[in-house]
C-alpha cells in the first residue's frame, strides 16, 4: 500500500464506503422499485415474472384506480387532512412550546408534567373513551376526529416538547435584543424565535405529515363512507368482491400515494440543511 498517495487513499476509501452503503440500501430500495414496477404490470404478470421492467406497460392501471372507487376524492381527503393537521400542529406546538420554554407562569411545571404523563398512556387505552367522546359529539363518519386526535393527542404533545427543547437552546440575548428593538412578546416569538427554529419546525412538519398521511386505525374506526376514506383505507379497499387484493391496482395507487411524502421530505430537508448554516449567535 506504500505506493498510494493521500489523495488516492481518500478515493479508495470513498469508493468502498459508497459500495457498502449501496449494498446496505438494497433491502430498502428494492421493495420500493418493485412496487413502482408492479404498478405498471397486469395482475397476472406481477407474480408471473420477477423482472423489474414490465413486459407490457399497463398504463391503464392508473386510470382504473380512479374508476374503481372515488380515489381522487380520497386522495384529496388525505391531502387536506394531512396539511391541516400539519399546519395546526406547527402553530400550536410552536406557541405552546415557546410558552413552556420562556414564560414563567403559575402551574407551568404542573402542565408539563400532565402533558408528559399523557404520553405514557398507550393509544389502545384512549381509543375507547375517544370513540365515545367523538360519538357523543356526533362526529362519527366525519374528518374531525382525524384532525383533532393527532393535533391534540400524543403527537401534538411530542411536537410541543420538541419545539420547547429547541426554544430553550436559543440564545436569550437575541430575544432581548428584539425586545430592545420594540417587539412585543408575540413579536419576539414570531419574528425572532420562529425564523431561527426552522430546523425544528421542519422536523415537526415531516413527522406530523407522515403520521397523518399514514393514519390507519382512526379512519378505520371513525369513517364508513367510501368518499370520506383517506388513502390508507382506500388502498386496502382495492379488492375483488371476495376480498382478494387487486395487486396491480393497489400497487399503482400506492405509487401515487407516495408522491406527496417525497415532496414534503425534499422541501423540509432543504429547510433543515439551510438553517443549520444560519443557526447560532456566533458562526
Amino acid at each position: 500500500m506504500g505506493g498510494l498517495t493521500q489523495k488516492q487513499l481518500r478515493i479508495v476509501n470513498q469508493v468502498c464506503w459508497t459500495l457498502a452503503l449501496a449494498v446496505a440500501a438494497i433491502p430498502f430500495v428494492f421493495p420500493f422499485l418493485w412496487m413502482i414496477s408492479s404498478g405498471f404490470k397486469s395482475a397476472s404478470e406481477i407474480f408471473g415474472s420477477p423482472s423489474l421492467v414490465p413486459r407490457e406497460w399497463q398504463w391503464r392501471n392508473f386510470v382504473d384506480v380512479f374508476t374503481y372507487q372515488p380515489f381522487a376524492r380520497q386522495y384529496f381527503n388525505s391531502l387536506y387532512i394531512a396539511l391541516t393537521v400539519t399546519a395546526l400542529t406547527l402553530v400550536i406546538s410552536s406557541l405552546a412550546g415557546y410558552a413552556l420554554a420562556r414564560l414563567r407562569f403559575a402551574g407551568a411545571g404542573l402542565i408539563s408534567l400532565f402533558l408528559v404523563s399523557a404520553l405514557m398512556v398507550p393509544e389502545e387505552v384512549t381509543m375507547i373513551p375517544n370513540f365515545f367522546l367523538i360519538k357523543w359529539a356526533g362526529l362519527i363518519d366525519t374528518h374531525w376526529p382525524l384532525i383533532m386526535l393527532p393535533v391534540f393527542g400524543p403527537q401534538g404533545i411530542m411536537a410541543t416538547f420538541l419545539m420547547r427543547q429547541y426554544f430553550l437552546a436559543l440564545p436569550r440575548e437575541l430575544e432581548e435584543a428584539g425586545k430592545m428593538d420594540g417587539l412585543s412578546r408575540f413579536g419576539v416569538w414570531w419574528r425572532i424565535a420562529l425564523p431561527m427554529s426552522r430546523p425544528a419546525l421542519a422536523a415537526v412538519a415531516i413527522i406530523t405529515f407522515l403520521n397523518s398521511w399514514n393514519l390507519f386505525l382512526e379512519p378505520l374506526i371513525f369513517i364508513s363512507s367510501l368518499e370520506k376514506f383517506t388513502l390508507p383505507l382506500a388502498l386496502s379497499n382495492f379488492t375483488d368482491p371476495y376480498g382478494t387484493p387487486l395487486w396491480h391496482l393497489q400497487l399503482a395507487a400506492t405509487t401515487l400515494a407516495v408522491l406527496p411524502i417525497l415532496i414534503v421530505y425534499l422541501i423540509a430537508q432543504r429547510q433543515i440543511i439551510e438553517s443549520f448554516a444560519l443557526s447560532g449567535v456566533k458562526g
Binding site: 437575541l174 432581548e176 435584543a177 425586545k179 430592545m180
Partner: protein
C-alpha cells in the same frame, strides 16, 4: 438631552438580594463605566436600566421621566450585548434597520439612517452580508450600528469587547471613544477590563456585592481611593497593603486613625537597605519588557510587588523600599480611607 438618576435601586431574584440599594446620578453626555468583581451585579444593574429586568425597589429616571414601568423600547435606550446578539436570519442591513421597522419608520428614511450609520462605522460594503459571514470586529461594529440607528438618548454596553482579541480590542476601544465624542450621548459601559474603564470613563462606578463602593473620575479613584476595596481593585498590579505596625518609625503624613498603609507597585522605588521606609529581600523578578515586576519579601514575611524600571537586581538581594510621601494611602480599621 438626557441625564439618568437611580434612587435606592434594589433587585431581588427570589430571596437573593443582588442589587442592594444603588443611588447614582449620570449627567447628560457622560461616559460612565461600571466595574467590579464578577457577580457583583454590573450586568443586572445595566439590564434594569435597559428594562430587561424589573426593578424590585427604588426609582429610575431617564431624563425627567420615571421609567420603572416603561417598556425597553420606549425608554430611549439602546443596548450592545456581549454576544452581539445579531439576528442570524437577517442581513446586516436588516439587522440594523430592524428596530426602525418595528417602530414603523418608512422604508426610505430607514434606508437613509441605516446607510448613514453604516458609513460612520465603515460597514457600507457589508450591508448585504449575514452575521455569520462577518469577523468578530465587524459583528461588533454591526451591533453598535444597530444601536446608533435608533438614535437613542442613552447607550448601554455590557462588556462589548470581551470577545475580541487584544489588538482589536484596543482598536474598538478607541472607536467607541471617538463615537462618544462625535455623538455626545450619555453612555453606560460595563467592563472587567481596567484599561477600558480608565481610558473610556468620565466617571467610574465601582460596585461590590450589589452596592456602590465609590464613584469618581479615573484619576480620583486611582489617586484617592475611598476604601481598601477600591484601592486594591483599581490599578494593576494591585496596591500593596501593610499593617502600620510593620513600619519602623512614623510615616510622613500618617493620620492617627490609620491602621493600614497602601502603596502602589509603580510608586515604590528601590534604595539602599535601611534608607527606605521598610527593608525587603527580592524573591523573584518578572521581566515584562517595559519594566520588571519584582516580588519582594518584607521582614514581616509579607510579599510586596514593585514595578521597577531598568536593570533588576538579582534574587536574594537586600534592598530598601522608598516612596514619595504623597503616594502613601492610609486606611482605618474599617477599611475606609483615613485622612
Amino acid at each position: 438631552m438626557t441625564s439618568l438618576t437611580l434612587a435606592g435601586i434594589r433587585k431581588r431574584f427570589g430571596k437573593v438580594d443582588v442589587i442592594r440599594g444603588v443611588d447614582l446620578r449620570v449627567a447628560d453626555g457622560e461616559f460612565v463605566v461600571f466595574v467590579g468583581p464578577s457577580g457583583c451585579g454590573k450586568s443586572t444593574l445595566l439590564r434594569m436600566i435597559a428594562g430587561l429586568e424589573d426593578i424590585s425597589e427604588g426609582e429610575l429616571r431617564i431624563g425627567d421621566r420615571i421609567v420603572n414601568e416603561v417598556q425597553p423600547a420606549k425608554r430611549g435606550v439602546a443596548m450592545v450585548f456581549q454576544s452581539y446578539a445579531l439576528y442570524p436570519h437577517l442581513t446586516v442591513r436588516d439587522n440594523m434597520g430592524f428596530g426602525l421597522k418595528v417602530r414603523g419608520v418608512p422604508p426610505h428614511e430607514r434606508r437613509q439612517r441605516v446607510e448613514a450609520a453604516a458609513a460612520t462605522l465603515k460597514l457600507d460594503a457589508l450591508l448585504q452580508r449575514f452575521p455569520r459571514e462577518l469577523s468578530g470586529g465587524q459583528r461588533q461594529r454591526v451591533a453598535i450600528g444597530r444601536a446608533i440607528v435608533g438614535e437613542p438618548d442613552v447607550f448601554l454596553f455590557d462588556e462589548p469587547l470581551s470577545n475580541l482579541d487584544a489588538e482589536l480590542r484596543v482598536h474598538m476601544r478607541s472607536e467607541i471613544a471617538s463615537l462618544h465624542k462625535r455623538l455626545g450621548n450619555t453612555m453606560i459601559y460595563v467592563t472587567h477590563d481596567q484599561i477600558e474603564a480608565m481610558t473610556l470613563a468620565d466617571k467610574i462606578v465601582v460596585l461590590r456585592d450589589g452596592q456602590v463602593e465609590q464613584v469618581g473620575t479615573p484619576r480620583q479613584l486611582y489617586e484617592r481611593p475611598g476604601n481598601l476595596f477600591v484601592a486594591q481593585f483599581i490599578g494593576s498590579p494591585k496596591m500593596n497593603i501593610l499593617p502600620i505596625e510593620a513600619v519602623a518609625g512614623k510615616l510622613p503624613g500618617q493620620p492617627k486613625t490609620a491602621s493600614l498603609v497602601g502603596v502602589r507597585p509603580e510608586d515604590l522605588e528601590l534604595t539602599e537597605p535601611g534608607s527606605g521606609f521598610v527593608d525587603a529581600r527580592i524573591l523573584i523578578s518578572e521581566y515584562t519588557g517595559a519594566s520588571s515586576l519584582l516580588h519582594v519579601q518584607l521582614p514581616s514575611g509579607q510579599v510586596f510587588l514593585v514595578a521597577h524600571d531598568g536593570e533588576a537586581p538579582p534574587a536574594d538581594t537586600s534592598v530598601g523600599l522608598a516612596v514619595e510621601p504623597g503616594r502613601l494611602h492610609f486606611f482605618a480599621d474599617s477599611g475606609r480611607r483615613a485622612d
